[in-house]
């Protein structure tokens, strides 16, 4: 998905740069009496309408696919409780006691089954970001003290997945990590 996003951006950025270059060059060639677009208000109206329609289509297609609505009608086969803390993730099938936080040494989850992560933090804000085996970010939520974010996900491929912290949380933020095994 990220590669498609990058290509889309580069195409749009390139088109914008071409438009600006074309407009700039048109002014270089313009005679003294030339007054530009004859009816800019009409052109502006169409430009805005097209932009509005494009953004409207984007919004109506993407919003229903937001992570808040992912697998909302299904029941997860496993619930994993995640407590983030400086600078580690504790994960367990059971609820984690904040006064005596303990996680399991390893977590194994089934492939192609719905899993729900209930993510919170015991100290500051953290990120709970899942990376696949090619180190591509596939899903994430935040870990916030006092709140539980529920992230539902189905892992398609068996293998080892890495969890990285994606919210700056202090001097060892860059080494805060965990892993999951999908079977």
């Amino acid at each position: 998905m990220q590669n498609s996003i990058l290509i889309l951006f580069l195409v749009l950025a390139g088109m914008s740069a071409l438009v600006f270059t074309f407009v700039y060059l048109s002014s270089k060639k313009a005679g003294k009496d030339e007054q530009g677009i004859p009816n800019p208000l009409k052109t502006r109206f169409w430009f805005l309408l097209i932009l509005f329609v494009i953004l409207g289509i984007f919004a109506s297609v993407t919003i229903p696919r937001s992570p808040y609505f992912l697998f909302a009608d299904e029941t997860p086969v496993r619930v994993i409780h995640v407590s983030a803390m400086q600078f580690a993730f504790l994960m367990s099938d059971k609820a984690i006691d904040p006064k005596n936080p303990v996680g399991e040494a390893s977590i194994e989850l089934p492939a192609n089954k719905l899993v729900e992560f209930r993510v919170t933090s015991l100290d500051v804000n953290h990120g709970f970001a899942i990376y696949d085996q090619s180190n591509r970010l596939i899903a994430q939520t935040q870990a916030m003290p006092g709140y539980v974010n529920r992230l539902r996900w189905k892992f398609k491929e068996p293998g080892n997945y890495t969890i990285l912290c994606l919210e700056y949380c202090g001097m060892a933020h860059q080494v805060m990590r965990a892993s999951l095994t999908i079977k």
Binding site: F9, L12, A30, G36, L48, S66, L164, G170, M171, Q174
Partner: protein, 481 residues
């Protein structure tokens, strides 16, 4: 017309901003070299750089926009010199407090200082109140200036006229200059988000001094942080746009832009969208009410409509097949608008919730905001700085090294930014002092970014020497010209 005192303080602002910008670019290069494993700093030092770099950058480009507005506003009404001085003194004091907290106190909670990180002391204990105090001091300075400026506008233009509402009717008898309209809209946004910052700081203070008796709500604090942080970072761009509306046609020898019903409508809508778009920073907090998340995406999308349909379109129309007079000033404005558009495209992609799910807090985020700052807002301010500095100079070689400066800016800027975009698409996290083995491309990309940032820095150094020299002449000149 402006006074000599205003010219001098404007010159001082410009020299200060450019000097701090150079220092700040160097900090950025150091960070990229550290990520590239050329330098080997302690992570805490890296994060102290990151905190300093972020907040200083917001501060200097905000006051750069402020400087332009203040100087040009004298064409329409009298501004308060005292408020300008207060803003200057408090901004410099705030920056010094910030740098003391980060480099002596080792405070490194990031410029977003997300609650409750500043209260989990991993640095000198005094550094947290000093850091929060630095924001308070700068905020008071900017609030003083903003309230003073708004008061002066309202003395001449009643609120409805300042917001150009009479343009919604046919044949309005009074014309509101676009510069006044945009300044007013921006000032309302600035004052609103600064009041949000006051509330945020008050809540920090309440917890800090309560000895554990009072604990804040993390979600509310995060909403307040981004209401302030996102809004102020965007309003500084709008300050630059007001300057474009005033100077771009003038410098190009084109007719002055006038307010029309659609210009008035666009800017009034912008105020609403800009104050509600900040919700997109909390997309990954699934406990935030879903309605707010959807408002975040729609407001962020809608904010691009008046920007593209009115401002960008007007700039293109002013240039397309017209005999516009090109100079360094309006070339910088023109390229800056292109940079703003391209950064905006990166932003629109990121504010789409489904994309944000895989881009949030990756390098895509600094990619897009550096685009509309380094190749957008910075160019707007450089255009004003250049234009201002040549107003009172007798020499005529103002366009010296124009091609070189623009080439270096573009090559350096594009190369530096591409490294961020590629890193974002490769899922590399932002705000990492060093990258783990999972990202073998992170270090080479960071080195490449540092090289291109150095090219960009070379352009800024030329601007700094040329503009500062002329500003120093204005500063130490005793004559009225």
């Amino acid at each position: 017309m402006e006074t000599i005192k205003l010219r001098k303080i404007t010159s001082l602002w410009i020299i200060t901003v450019l000097f701090l910008f150079i220092v700040n670019i160097v900090l950025g290069i150091i960070m990229r070299l550290n990520q590239g494993e050329i330098l080997h700093e302690q992570p805490a030092t890296f994060y102290a750089h990151m905190t300093t770099h972020g907040l200083t950058q917001i501060g200097i480009w905000f006051v750069a926009g402020m400087t332009g507005i203040n100087y040009l506003m004298e064409r329409y009404l009298k501004t308060s010199y005292l408020a300008n001085v207060v803003a200057m003194v408090l901004t410099v004091t705030g920056i010094l407090m910030l740098w003391t907290s980060t480099y002596i106190g080792n405070f490194h909670a990031g410029w977003t200082f997300l609650y409750p990180l500043p209260l989990k002391i991993m640095w000198a204990k005094w550094a947290t109140p000093l850091f929060l105090g630095s924001i308070l001091v700068m905020g008071v300075g900017w609030l003083t200036w903003s309230v003073s400026m708004m008061t002066q506008i309202l003395k001449k233009y009643p609120l409805t006229k300042a917001l150009a509402w009479q343009h919604f009717r046919k044949n309005p008898t009074i014309q509101t200059p676009p510069f006044i309209l945009i300044s007013m809209i921006t000032l309302i946004g600035i004052i609103t988000c600064l009041l949000g910052a006051v509330l945020l700081l008050a809540m920090y203070a309440a917890e800090y001094f309560s000895n554990g008796a009072f604990v804040n709500d993390a979600l509310l604090m995060k909403n307040l942080t981004y209401f302030f942080g996102h809004t102020i970072a965007n309003e500084m761009l709008y300050l630059g746009l007001a300057v474009i509306y005033e100077l771009f046609p003038e410098v190009g020898g084109r007719p002055k832009w006038k307010a029309t019903w659609y210009v008035a409508l666009a800017w009034n809508c912008t105020l609403v969208f800009i104050l509600t778009a900040f919700f997109h920073h909390l997309y990954m907090d699934f406990v935030q009410p879903v309605g707010f998340q959807i408002v975040g995406q729609i407001a962020s999308y809608m904010a691009s409509l008046p920007a593209a349909g009115v401002t960008v379109f007007s700039v293109l129309v002013a240039v397309y097949r017209t005999s516009i007079k090109w100079s360094l000033t309006n070339l910088l404005f023109f390229i800056g608008v292109a940079g703003w558009v391209i950064g905006g495209l990166g932003a629109v992609i990121d504010v789409t919730i489904t994309n944000n799910f895989v881009l949030h807090n990756t390098l895509w985020v600094p990619a897009h905001f550096h685009t509309y700052n380094a190749l957008g807002n910075v160019l707007f301010s450089l255009a004003f700085f250049h234009w201002f500095s040549i107003q009172f100079s007798e020499k005529t070689d103002f366009e010296k090294l124009t091609k070189l400066k623009l080439t270096l800016l573009l090559i350096g800027g594009i190369g530096f930014l591409l490294a961020f975009y590629i890193g974002g698409a490769e899922s590399m996290p932002r705000r990492y002092s060093n990258y783990p083995a999972e990202f073998p491309m992170a270090a080479p990309l960071a080195i490449g970014a540092a090289v291109f940032a150095t090219i960009y820095l070379a352009a800024i150094l030329i601007f700094f020497f040329q503009i500062s020299k002329r500003c120093l002449n204005i500063l130490f000149s005793s004559s009225s010209h």
